[in-house]
Structure formats: C-alpha cells, structure tokens
C-alpha cells in the first residue's frame, strides 16, 4: 500500500492546494469554489474529484448542488495507514497478555 502517496500528490498541485485551503474555511459548492479561481468550473470539479479520491475532501448533495468539505480525517491515506498499523500493533500487544495467562 502506498503510504499516503495520493494525499501528498493531490496537494502538490497549487490549484488543488488553493481549493483545499478554501474548503478549510467551511463547506463550499463547486460554483462558490470556481468563483475567483483562474480555472474553469469543470476543471475545479476535476480537482475536487482528485482531492476526494485522495481522501482529503468529502461531498454531499444539497438540493441540486454538490457541497464539498474537508474530510475530518484529513490526510486520508496516511491516517488510515497509521490507524491500521496501530490496530495491528495493539492487538499484538494485547495478545502478549493472553499468552502469558495460558502458560500460568
């Protein structure tokens, strides 16, 4: 599993960083985000899809609009990886006690 690579690559693009920064101030629709950005609305949608697949933002339907917001888990992949890692490590830690009890 690539260690957070998609999250990092996604934020390497200046337009996506700008979009991500705007979203850090609160949820926004694609139209809101496109205003004031030097790229077309379809381009903004494409950037949002990239950020979404990297686990950095989430979206929901609000009426006919799609509203985007920062994924509270942020830096999605890296966090997911660490989550799984600690899960595995602590399960092994816990097993250490169970084994000892069986021997006693």
């Amino acid at each position: 599993m690539a260690y957070a690579s998609r999250a990092f690559s996604a934020l390497a693009d200046p337009t996506r960083r700008e979009i991500f920064e705007r979203l850090s101030k609160g949820p926004r629709s694609v139209g809101d985000l496109a205003r004031g950005l030097p790229v077309s609305r379809p381009a903004v949608s494409q950037h949002l899809r990239t950020l979404k697949s990297a686990g950095l933002v989430m979206d929901r339907a609000q009426g006919t609009r799609r509203v985007y917001q920062i994924d509270p888990a942020g830096l999605g992949e890296i966090r997911r990886w660490l989550d799984q890692f600690w899960n595995r490590a602590l399960t092994a830690f816990q097993a250490e006690f169970e084994e000892k009890q069986e021997h006693m």
């Binding site: 990092f8 690559s9 850090s24 250490e96």
Partner: protein, 158 residues
Amino acid sequence: MTTIAISPAPVRRSVKVNAAPPKAFRVFTSGMGKWWPKQHSLNSKSAQQDVIVEPHAGGRWYERSEDGSECEWGRVLTWEPPARVVLAWQINGNWQYDRDFETEVEVRFVADGSGTRVELEHRNLERFGDKADEVRAAFDSPEGWNGGLQLFAKAVAA
C-alpha cells in the same frame, strides 16, 4: 504564497489487557520488541531482534537488528510509569528517521477492573505533509517499508 493549516484528527486506539497498569506499562515499554510486528522495521537488510524504549525522559527509542545494527525511531518525551508515556515518532513519510521531524505517540494506562485500558493517541499528523516532495519518489521502492508491507500483505493472504 499561502500556507495551509491541515489538522487531521489524531489516530486513537484503545485495548483492554489482563494485567494491572504497572505490568501493562512494563510490557508496552521494556517488552516492546516481543509484541511489535516484526515486519515494521526500518532495516531491510537484517531481521528485527528487539525494540528498545530507554526508561527515562529524553531516552532513545530504537530497534536493534539481528546483525547488531541499530536504527533510531525517536525518543521518550514523557516517562510517567505506570500511568503514561509519550514517545516522539521521528520516522517521516519517507520511512526514514529524521531528527527534525516529530509526531507524538501518547499512551495512557488506566486501571479498569482487574485489568488496564491502554489508550493510544498518535497526533500531529499534519507534520507528515511538510515533507511531501521528498516522500513521493520513495513509495514504489521494493526495499522500502512499502515493500515490507507488500510482503506482509502476501503472508496474510496466503
């Protein structure tokens, strides 16, 4: 140029173990090499033999391999047996020890009935983002941590 403040939620995990806090603390710290998943090693050339947490604030946190070599992982920030230990995780997104990189792993040992609830929090994860440029090139390296994980995944699937 604007800076972005990304604050991902910390990773939080909690497990219950069948021992009182002093023993749970001891197994977690001085016995780390016994339970730490062996494939999570920074040394790709030699198998992990032990993981050492020196028992004092400022102490080293490192692994020793079977060939005798040592790899730094971080250091002890807070040492409060049997209730709490805070480790500095100084392994960056490139899976290398980096003395200028630091995230915190806090572990609390809370008495719970006849056992202990062990609560772990790994925080300051936004700092992984600072090294983005260095990170990207290394992901597909077959010798890297990533390669180790693929081996691990294969072993699990087998």
